[in-house]
Symmetry: C2
Subunit: 219 residues, 2 copies
């Protein structure tokens, strides 16, 4: 039976900490801190802008979050700004992503990305990973100017495919994204590679997996 | 002329890091990290729940955020959980708060709190600080089940006082709160005690102050 598998992009297919890691030696001893603040602020900006009704695309927010991270981590060299933003546009996929995507595609299933990323960023990341032939569509929140976990974002998927909510299998490593998708009514798999603590006790995933490989047959 | 001054509570009137600081020796070397994660997760949960439409009150989110912080900071002793939550209910006000509030009250102005906090938490904090006689009202988002910076929260103020948006002077130390309040149309003062980097470039405060004392006459 043909099924629809939807994937979050940043943190799920692509390792968001890969950008700083690519320039780790140049960034220096506070590289991990810089990367953590960059990610935390990027998410804060998306949430706050969706709540306050003043959209700005994820590419702009990513740059603003990096500027804030530099301001909070004085040891990091600001001249790396452009190199880090370039690296963010071509983040490496996690090693478990391609085998699963290729397997599902070969099985005739529909594959989609649903991401807070802007269309340009997503096209670059998907292109750099060679993932274009694998996805039926890449849905960006930029179409509706709201960010996950606003229900209107998850609704982009059911509208696109013309199916009911429980027919969608949704994969994300971001626990807050799983919370929103479960609340919306998708079947959800939380890909918890890092052993992160569980959150949102009333908005559970249908399953908790340690890797996308757990979705392969025989697992 | 009688004016209306509205204050955010957590981070603006009350020092949110005061809870961990009160038990700093018992928490150990990662006390600051525990406090930072506690605060960051508390805010994330509020944003995500407002966006996803699954409200849970700030007291519950504060406890859940502390549990996540403990999970991420293994060196901190989990038996301090109740002591830290108790301390959060009676956070000390910043030293610059009382003199300004008393001055404005003596001048015949209206004073209000607008907070993501639950009514019980706010009553405890305001009571412990001896602030009850100073405020005309304490407005909690719990009435509408949405969190700042949702515009519906700021609208609670204009509805309560029956005035236009630019007639409200809004004070917050949280830059994202200032972004939401400025977007809504309040006159905003960002109380940036810590020299935090500016954020939300298109949603500026009307003024940036380093202390609530900057609102005293003669300053």
């Amino acid at each position: 039976m043909r099924r629809i598998f939807v994937f979050d992009a940043y943190g799920t297919l692509f390792d968001v900490h890969g950008a700083v890691r690519r320039h780790e030696a140049a960034v220096g001893p506070d590289a991990a801190k810089l990367s953590d603040i960059w990610r935390t602020k990027q998410l804060e900006y998306a949430f706050v802008r969706s709540l306050s009704g003043r959209y700005r695309d994820f590419e702009a927010l990513t740059a603003e979050a990096l500027d804030t991270a530099f301001a909070m981590v004085p040891s990091a060299d600001r001249s790396l700004r452009e190199a880090l933003l370039d690296a963010y546009r071509t983040l490496a996929p996690y090693p478990d992503a391609r085998p699963l995507l290729e397997h599902l595609k070969a099985g005739g299933h529909s594959l989609a990305i649903l991401s807070n990323g802007s269309p340009g960023m997503l096209a670059d990341a998907v292109g750099a990973a060679g993932f274009e032939p694998l996805f039926d569509c890449v849905l960006s929140v930029d179409t509706i100017h709201r960010y996950k976990p606003d229900p209107a974002v998850y609704e982009m998927v059911t509208k696109h495919f013309g199916v009911g909510r429980p027919e969608i299998s949704f994969q994300s490593s971001n626990r807050w994204d799983i919370a929103g998708a479960s609340r919306f009514g998708f079947r959800t798999n939380w890909i918890n590679r890092s052993g992160a603590p569980d959150e949102y006790p009333d908005l559970k995933p249908d399953a908790v997996l340690t890797s996308l490989a757990d979705l392969m047959p025989g697992k």
